[in-house]
C-alpha cells in the first residue's frame, strides 16, 4: 500500500478491482464503509462475480477474468480523450513529457525487440532520449509525437468502450458509468483509492494489471495524497515483512538484489545499481545503494566483510536464473532437487497444478515442514482416497514434520499492508514439544555450522563467519534480532558538519537509514527498517493512537521507511508546495520548511523552487507512465488474453497469453483449449476462511464447511445442475468434485458476441483439518507465471463442468 488502512477513510471514491476487500480484508474494508458514511464517498466494484464487496457498492460492473488491462486501457483512453486528467500533476510529477527513443514501437500486440524463441524482449529501445549532458530530454508542451504522453494516447486509443465490451464482456453503458465516476476524480480536490489484491497479481500479466491502474491514478493525480494511492492489500499478516526482508530467490533485505553471474565482481554489481539522476538536481535515492548493501554485508558477516574482500561479495550466491517456486517445482519434477523446506507454507494446496506438485515432492529425497498445523504438504505421501490419491509405498521421500509455535506463543513484529511494523507478545507456551521458529532455525544453522567446523566441506566460509552474537546461540531472542534488523554503529559516527561531534557512539543503535555508511562503519540487516529499534527503544511497540482523526496514527507502532505513513507524500502539494486540497493537507511547504502531518518523503533541505521531483527513488524524480526497461513484458500495459481463454486476443489475434510470460515446455503442452473447456474459471477466497489455515478452525469450518463451485442459473440450467448437487469440474490438468452453488451473482457475459459462462472456485479445503474434506482449484490451474514476478495464473483458466450423482470417496 502506498497509503495505509485508515487513510482509506479519506477517499471520495474507492474502486475495488482485482480484489475483494470486503471479503478478504473486512476490517480494512471498514474504512471504505466509513468514507461512504462520513464523506459521502462512492464505491465501485469491477469483478467477474457480484462479491461481498459489490453487495455494498454504489456501482457494480462485471468483467471477464483476465481482461483488466483492456478495461483499464479503456479508462485511460476515456480520461485522455475526454481530457479528464489532473494536468499540473501529470506534467510535473510524471514522465509524460519525457521523449522516448524513436526506435521504440508497438504493433500487432508486440513491442519492439521481441524474440519469439526466447519469449523475451531486447528492451534497448524502451528508453528515453538522453542528451549529451546525460539527462533525459523533455517536451513540456506534451506535443512531441515521441513524448510519453503522445505515445500513451496512441497506445490506448484502441480500447474504445466498444472494444472494452467486446473483450471484457462488461456492458458498454456500465463501463462508461465506471469511467465517468473515475474521471470525476481528476480534479485536485477529489481523490480515488485503488484497492486490489491477488485478483490482479495472479495473472500472466499481473504486474501490468497493477501498472495500468497506477497510470490511471497518476493521470488523476491520486498518488501521494490522502485518500488516494495504489493499495495492494497484502494477503498474509507478514508477507510484506518477508518480502521487505528479502526472503525470495533474488532479494537482499530492503529490496536490494542478489548479484547474477553476469556480475562477476563488486564493481560490475554496483554499476547497474547506484542510479544517477536522469534530470538535474533529482534526489535519485538509490544512489545510496552501496551504503545499504555494505551495511547489510557487515550485518551478515561482521569482521569477515572487509573493504579488501569487497565486503564479502563472494559470500553471496550469484544467480543464473530466478529460482521462484514454479521453477523449483519444475526442477523437482526433473529430479534436480534433493531437499526442500516448507516453513509455514503448504504448497501442495496452494501452488498451481497439484498433479505436478505431488510428482515433484515425490521425487525429493527429503522434505522438512515446519508448521503449527498438520498440513497436507507434510502428508502428501498419505493416501486419502480421491482427496489425495497417491501410491504411498512408491514415494521414497523422507519427511520431517516439525511442530512450531503459532502467533499466540511468540514475540516479535509483523508488517501490515500499510508497512506498519507492529510488535506482539506471547500469551501462552507452545503445546506439547512445539518450538519457536527462531529456535528451530537456530538449531538448523548451528548444527550445520558445527558439521562444517568438524568436517570442513564445500565453501564453508559464509556459514562459519555468519554473525551470531546472541546471548544464547541456540535461542536468539526476538529483541536481539529486531535490534539486528535495525542496525548499529560499528565505529563512532561523526557529525558530517562537525567532525569532532559524535552523533552515534560505537555499538549504539542507529536511528535512521540516513546514518548508514558504505565504509563498513555501520551495520543494518534491513536498511528500510532502520529506525524500528533505536536507542530510544522498541519503536514497533508504540501504542499512542492519537492522530487527530487523520488515520495516520504516527505514534502507533512504526512504519517503514522512516515512520512515513503515506509514500510519495510530497506529491500531495503542487510544485510550489501548496496542498492540492486544503481539506486534506498532508505535506506542504510552510515558507521555510516542509510541514504536515506525515514525515515528508522528500529532502528536508529542498526548496520548492529547486523543482526536485516527489518520486525521490526514481532517477527522474517523477513517476513513470512509461516504465522504460523495468518490466519484462513492455513499457506500457497491453491486453493479452490469459493463456487459457475462450476467445482469441481481439487486438492481436495471433498472440496466445502474455508473450513474455515464462512458461515451461511441458506446462505449455498442458494448456487446454476452449473447444474442450468452454467455461472460464477463476479461483478465490471466501471471507469465512483464511487460505488453507482456517479449515483447521472449528468455528470457520462451521461457517463454510464444504468445498463448492459457483455458477450462474443459466449455466446450471444448461448443464442440468441443481443447487446443492454434486458437480465435476475439470481442466486439462486435473479434475475436482464439488457441491454446486447456483447463484444470480454470477451471470453469463457477452464476449465478442457470444455468451461466456464463469465458474467460480474457492480455495480453502483439503484433506486435513476440521472442515469437510474437499478438493482445491489448484488441481485445475495452469503452471504459468506472471512475466515479471512469476505469480501463477490462478484467476483465469478454462474448465468444463457436469452434474454428477455423488461426491468423492475418501
Amino acid at each position: 500500500m502506498t497509503n495505509s488502512w485508515a487513510d482509506i477513510g479519506w477517499t471520495d471514491l474507492a474502486i475495488i478491482m482485482g480484489g475483494n476487500a470486503a471479503e478478504a480484508h473486512p476490517c480494512g474494508f471498514k474504512w471504505v464503509v466509513e468514507a461512504k458514511a462520513n464523506r459521502g464517498a462512492k464505491l465501485i466494484v469491477v469483478d467477474p462475480r457480484y462479491t461481498r464487496s459489490a453487495s455494498v457498492a454504489d456501482f457494480y460492473c462485471p468483467i471477464r477474468p483476465g481482461t483488466d488491462i483492456a478495461f483499464l486501457g479503456g479508462v485511460i483512453n476515456y480520461l485522455l480523450s475526454n481530457d479528464k486528467i489532473q494536468h499540473d500533476y501529470v506534467k510535473n510529477y510524471t514522465n509524460a513529457a519525457y521523449l522516448v527513443n524513436p526506435a521504440y514501437g508497438f504493433s500487432d500486440g508486440l513491442f519492439t525487440g521481441y524474440d519469439e524463441a526466447k519469449r523475451d524482449y531486447d528492451k534497448s529501445s524502451w528508453d528515453y532520449q538522453v542528451g549529451e549532458d546525460g539527462f533525459a530530454k523533455l517536451d513540456d508542451t506534451l506535443q512531441d509525437p515521441n513524448c510519453v504522453f503522445q505515445l500513451m494516447k496512441k497506445h490506448f486509443a484502441i480500447y474504445t468502450p466498444e472494444m472494452v465490451e467486446r473483450i471484457c464482456g462488461s456492458p458498454k453503458d456500465k463501463f462508461l458509468k465506471v469511467a465517468e465516476m473515475i474521471a470525476s476524480c481528476s480534479t485536485p480536490t477529489k481523490t480515488m483509492t485503488s484497492m486490489y489484491a491477488l485478483g490482479w497479481t495472479q495473472h500472466s500479466k499481473g504486474s501490468q494489471n497493477i501498472r495500468a491502474m497506477a497510470m490511471v491514478q497518476l493521470l488523476l493525480g491520486n498518488i501521494g495524497v490522502r485518500g488516494g494511492g495504489m493499495n495492494a492489500l497484502r494477503g498474509h499478516s507478514n508477507i510484506q515483512g518477508l518480502t521487505d526482508l528479502g526472503l525470495m530467490s533474488n532479494l537482499i533485505p530492503g529490496y536490494l538484489t542478489l548479484p547474477t553471474e553476469k556480475e562477476p565482481d563488486f564493481n560490475a554489481y554496483m554499476s547497474s545499481r547506484g542510479f544517477k539522476p536522469l534530470r538535474p538536481g533529482q534526489m535519485s535515492y538509490w544512489q545510496n545503494y552501496k551504503k545499504f548493501f555494505v551495511s547489510f554485508q557487515k550485518s551478515m558477516w561482521g569482521e569477515a566483510a572487509t573493504a579488501e574482500n569487497n565486503w564479502a561479495y563472494d559470500y553471496l550466491p550469484k544467480l543464473d536464473v530466478t529460482y521462484d517456486m514454479l521453477r523449483v517445482f519444475d526442477l523437482m519434477v526433473q529430479g534436480k532437487m534433493t531437499g526442500y523446506f516448507c516453513q509455514g507454507f503448504n504448497p501442495l494446496m496452494t501452488l498451481s497444478n497439484r498433479g505436478k506438485l505431488t510428482e515433484g515432492l515425490s521425487k525429493l529425497k527429503w522434505l522438512v515442514t515446519m508448521d503449527p498445523l498438520d498440513t497436507e504438504t507434510s502428508r502428501f505421501w498419505e493416501n486419502h482416497g480421491e482427496f489425495n490419491d497417491v501410491k504411498t509405498g512408491d514415494i521414497q521421500t523422507e519427511v520431517f514434520q516439525l511442530p512450531t509455535s503459532c502467533f499466540a506463543e511468540d514475540e516479535g513484529s509483523l508488517v501490515n499492508s500499510g508497512r506498519w511494523l507492529q510488535w506482539h507478545y506471547p500469551g501462552q507456551e507452545p503445546p506439547g514439544e512445539a518450538k519457536l521458529d527462531t529456535w528451530i532455525m537456530a538449531q538448523i544453522g548451528q548444527k550445520l555450522k558445527a558439521l562444517y567446523q568438524k568436517e570442513g566441506g564445500a565453501f564453508p566460509d559464509p556459514i562459519l563467519n555468519l554473525t551470531w552474537n546472541y546471548a544464547d546461540p541456540n535461542n536468539p531472542t526476538p529483541q536481539e534480532l529486531a535490534k539486528e534488523m535495525n542496525g548499529s554503529a560499528l565505529a563512532d559516527q561523526m557529525d558530517p558538519k562537525d567532525a569532532t561531534k559524535v552523533v552515534v557512539e560505537k555499538g549504539k543503535q542507529l536511528s535512521g537509514f540516513a546514518q548508514l555508511k558504505d565504509d563498513g562503519s555501520t551495520q543494518a540487516f534491513c536498511w528500510i527498517y532502520t529506525g524500528c529499534w533505536t536507542e530510544a527503544g522498541n519503536q514497533m511497540a508504540r501504542r499512542d493512537k492519537e492522530d487527530g482523526g487523520t488515520g495516520l496514527a504516527p505514534k502507533w507502532a512504526w512504519s517503514w521507511p522512516a515512520n512515513r505513513r503515506i509514500l510519495y507524500n510530497r506529491a500531495s502539494s503542487d510544485v510550489a508546495g501548496k496542498p492540492w486540497d486544503d481539506s486534506r493537507k498532508l505535506v506542504y511547504w510552510a515558507g521555510d520548511k516542509w510541514a504536515g502531518i506525515d514525515v515528508p518523503d522528500y529532502g528536508a533541505a529542498f526548496k520548492p523552487e529547486q523543482t526536485v521531483g516527489p518520486f525521490i527513488m526514481n532517477p527522474e524524480g517523477v513517476a513513470r507512465l512509461f516504465t522504460r526497461k523495468m518490466m519484462r513484458d513492455g513499457p506500457f500495459p497491453t491486453h493479452y488474453e490469459p493463456f487459457e481463454a475462450p476467445v482469441a486476443n481481439a487486438v492481436a489475434p495471433k498472440i496466445r497469453g502474455n508473450p513474455a510470460a515464462r512458461i515451461f515446455k511441458g506446462d505449455f503442452a498442458a494448456l487446454g483449449s476452449s473447444d474442450k473447456y468452454p467455461y472460464v474459471a477463476t479461483s478465490y477466497r471466501l471471507t469465512e476462511h483464511f487460505h488453507q489455515w482456517t479449515k483447521h478452525v472449528w468455528v470457520n469450518a462451521v461457517l463454510q464447511p464444504e468445498f463448492f463451485v459457483e455458477i450462474s442459473e443459466e449455466l446450471a440450467k444448461e448443464k442440468g445442475i441443481t443447487k446443492g448437487g454434486w458437480v465435476r469440474v475439470w481442466s486439462n490438468r486435473g479434475s475436482v468434485k464439488a457441491k454446486a452453488v447456483v447463484t444470480k451473482r454470477i451471470k453469463p457475459l457477452m464476449v465478442d458476441g457470444k455468451p461466456t459462462h464463469i465458474v467460480g472456485i474457492p480455495q480453502h479445503w483439503g484433506f486435513m483439518g476440521a472442515a469437510k474434506k474437499g478438493m482445491n482449484p489448484n488441481s485445475l490451474t495452469p503452471f504459468v507465471g506472471d512475466a515479471n514476478i512469476e505469480t501463477p495464473e490462478y484467476k483465469a483458466f478454462l474448465v468444463n463442468i457436469e452434474a454428477i450423482a455423488s461426491g468423492p470417496v475418501a
Partner: protein, 309 residues
C-alpha cells in the same frame, strides 16, 4: 467470579410485578445496518466464541447460509437473499443478520409457562434464564420472528441474550464489537435511532427512496432494529416479517381467556356443590330395591339369575 445482575421489567409466567425502580433506566438497542453489512459472518463467529457454543460442521446445500438455520448453538445467522430489483433492473444481494429482536412486547415471554424462564430487563433485553426453562417450546410459538430453538441435548430454549453478561459490565454484545463495517452498532435505543436517521438520509441520497428503520410497532418496537434499503418490503430480506405482531392465536391462547377458563372450572365445581346442597343426593329408595327384587324373582323363575355383563 463476579455476580452481575440486571433489573427486571417483567418475568414470564409470573404474577409478581417488578417494582418501578427509582432512577433512570436507559433502553439499549442493537442497530443492524443492512446497507453496511458485507455478510462476513464475523458476528456468527464472535457469538459462537463468546458464548462458548459448539455448532456442528455441516454441509453445503448450494447457498452461503451456514448453518442453514438458527439452532440452539447458533444464536445468530447471516441470511443471504438474492434479489433482482424490478425497479432498477439491478441485482441486489441482501444480507441480513438474523437473531432475537428483543421485542418490547415479547411473544416468547408471553407464551412461557415457566415462572422466570424468560425475563425482560429494564434496559429492554429479553433473556432466557435456563435454570427456570422447562423446554416446552411455547416460546417458539410465541415468537413472531421464529427465533428460539430447543436443544435436543438439555431440552432448554436458546437464543441471543444480547450478551447480557457483557452489557451488565458496560460492554456491547460480542457481535457488535466484532462487526468490521459497523453494520452492527450498540448503544441506547435513542442513540441508535438517531444513527439510523443519519443512515437513512445517506441511503436516500444514494437512490434508496424507501430506506427506513425497522422497529416494528406491532411488538411494541424492538431492541434490535434494522436499517433497510427497502423498508417497504422487509420480506425480501430472507423473510423478515412485514408488520410482525404476536399471533392472534397466541394472544387467544395466552390471553385473559385463561383466567376465565380457570374461573369457569371453579364455577362448575362450585355449581355441583350447590346443586347437591339444593337437590340433595339422588338416592335409591327401598321401594326401588323391592321392585328390582321382584323383577329379579320373575326373571329367576323364567331364567336363571341376573348375570354380570
Amino acid at each position: 467470579m463476579a455476580n452481575q445482575s440486571l433489573n427486571l421489567l417483567r418475568r414470564s409466567a409470573s404474577t409478581d410485578t417488578p417494582p418501578v425502580t427509582g432512577g433512570q433506566t436507559i433502553e439499549v438497542a442493537k442497530l443492524i445496518d443492512v446497507s453496511k453489512c458485507i455478510g462476513c459472518k464475523a458476528c456468527q463467529s464472535a457469538c459462537l466464541e463468546w458464548n462458548n457454543l459448539r455448532e456442528e460442521v455441516g454441509v453445503n446445500v448450494g447457498v452461503y447460509d451456514n448453518p442453514h438455520d438458527l439452532t440452539p448453538n447458533s444464536w445468530t445467522l447471516m441470511r443471504f437473499a438474492e434479489w433482482d430489483n424490478p425497479d432498477t433492473g439491478n441485482f441486489e444481494w441482501l444480507i441480513r443478520k438474523d437473531g432475537c429482536m428483543h421485542c418490547q412486547d415479547p411473544g416468547c415471554l408471553k407464551a412461557c409457562p415457566a415462572p422466570g424462564a424468560i425475563v425482560q430487563y429494564t434496559n429492554g433485553i429479553v433473556d432466557f434464564v435456563h435454570e427456570n426453562c422447562i423446554g416446552c417450546a411455547y416460546c417458539v410459538k410465541g415468537c413472531p420472528f421464529n427465533i428460539p430453538r430447543i436443544s435436543k441435548v438439555d431440552h432448554k430454549a436458546y437464543k441471543c441474550s444480547l450478551c447480557s453478561d457483557r452489557v451488565a459490565v458496560g460492554q456491547g454484545p460480542a457481535c457488535a464489537k466484532a462487526c468490521p463495517t459497523a453494520a452492527i452498532m450498540f448503544g441506547t435505543k435513542e442513540d441508535m435511532k438517531k444513527q439510523a436517521e443519519k443512515r437513512i438520509v445517506d441511503l436516500k441520497s444514494r437512490g434508496y427512496a424507501n430506506a427506513g428503520l425497522y422497529d416494528p410497532a406491532g411488538v411494541g418496537g424492538t431492541h434490535v432494529m434494522y436499517v433497510l434499503h427497502h423498508n417497504d418490503k422487509p420480506e425480501i430480506y430472507a423473510g423478515l416479517p412485514h408488520e410482525p405482531k404476536i399471533s392472534p392465536l397466541v394472544a387467544a391462547w395466552k390471553g385473559t381467556g385463561k383466567v376465565l377458563a380457570l374461573g369457569a372450572l371453579a364455577f362448575a365445581a362450585l355449581g355441583a356443590f350447590f346443586h347437591h346442597t339444593v337437590v340433595g343426593p339422588n338416592k335409591v329408595s327401598e321401594h326401588d330395591e323391592e321392585n328390582a327384587a321382584e323383577l329379579a324373582e320373575e326373571g329367576k323363575s323364567s331364567k336363571t339369575e341376573a348375570r354380570p355383563v
